[in-house]
Subunit: 273 residues, 2 copies
Amino acid sequence: MIPKSSYPGDQKILRVVSINVNGLRSSVTKGLLEWMEKSDADVICMQESRITHAQWTDKFKPEGWYTHLFPAERPGYAGTAIYSRLPFVSITDGLGFELADSQGRFISAEFDLGLDKPAHICSLYLPSGSSGDEAQARKDHFLEEYKKILKQWRDEDKSIIVCGDYNIVHKRIDIKNWSGNQKASGCLPHERAWLDHIYYELGYVDTFREVRKEAELYSWWSNRGQARAKNVGWRIDYQACSPDWKDRTVNAWVYKDEWFSDHAPVIIDYKLN
Amino acid sequence: MIPKSSYPGDQKILRVVSINVNGLRSSVTKGLLEWMEKSDADVICMQESRITHAQWTDKFKPEGWYTHLFPAERPGYAGTAIYSRLPFVSITDGLGFELADSQGRFISAEFDLGLDKPAHICSLYLPSGSSGDEAQARKDHFLEEYKKILKQWRDEDKSIIVCGDYNIVHKRIDIKNWSGNQKASGCLPHERAWLDHIYYELGYVDTFREVRKEAELYSWWSNRGQARAKNVGWRIDYQACSPDWKDRTVNAWVYKDEWFSDHAPVIIDYKLN
DNA sequence: CTTGCTAGG
DNA sequence: CCTAACAAG
């Protein structure tokens, strides 16, 4: 972990974390809250919180954090959350279509970071398509609906960081077993083309890849077999940003020293001045 | 544990164990098979095996044991099993009524022990009534049907040991919290009267109590709270025998040094000569 | 293989 | 509070 204090004294840094927690209750038993304290993060976007408001008791809301949870209607399923050291100007739950809104798959938090525009930092949990054709169809529907919204935000020139589990690898470099997964959900050509579109046509920026060009940087490993020990991983957790964040990106890494989930935290430092 | 070798050399002993394993797979991870090896048991009757034939792989059938499983139709639910050092002459699954037979609640194994009659050693898992009125009604129905069969076996003068989880305490001495459980399933007056009937009217013998007169000997403890640590238990696991076994009963105890389940093994030694 | 739900105990 | 099934990932 790079402490924020290691930057020059006049350098103002915004540290943003994306993590699919695979059950907030489970990840907390594995030390997530303690890691958050030492992470120097300003904003932490979580996916798969899998907790209802009733279950989200005070022990999940530590001192010093502004918190917001958007659960799925179905208990124990999906859901997103945002924890922040900075106060929210406003919070918006959902994207305005059923699949996103009933399953708690998107939160947008607006912040005043002293920049020319308000900054929107979002937590996105894109559906998995891996459990069959119907699941893939739902994922594809989500992609279609969400693409329209992403287009609109670009038209508005909105300043935005969308942290999330996209459940899609972008390129060959983003997955260990490329050839073996050509027919696997998350690595399908039309899914990767969707990422091409939002990055190359709409102009969003994969800020992690902007500063980290190496291979073998993944954010998710299957629980089956020895995937984790052998680093047989997929990079499917991104921070997709509007272009104004591109040149602000100063550092990015995956935290793998501890294990809170089957996904690892993806941490990105953005300079604010 | 009393080794069988501690009896005089000419004393032939039949050691019979009854244990509700609360999931054979779970109890095996807790060392049940290793305990069986050192138990000196001849016959072990299990209840709540909660395993299908497909799941009952070779690792559950150790060398040197004759084994038989009678699972419920519903996976992971109820079921009985018998493990024996002695070969079975024959095995009969069920009691001839739906509730017993579809839920794997009774196995009878016939043995040739060199006595004047064949010996039947059985594993019985009586339904619990604790989850509500319908469950209690099913339990009561089982008691009614099973009572007829017990009567018939006495009329036939059948030699039988019915090991099992009866889910009923007999008397005040058989439960720590007598007054607090007068309305609890398992301690209801009509259930205890059923045991009175089979012992005092039909002449079956509670062989454990025949040789162990002390209080505070229990076979089941709730998982909730500190029931086990405080010995807040119930004696609901019995070996109910035809009268010919009464004077053969030489020793009986509950094994509590290790924990394989929420029930403890009830071990009874019978002399054969 | 893992989380969390549900039913049953 | 524990076991196991189940759905989902």
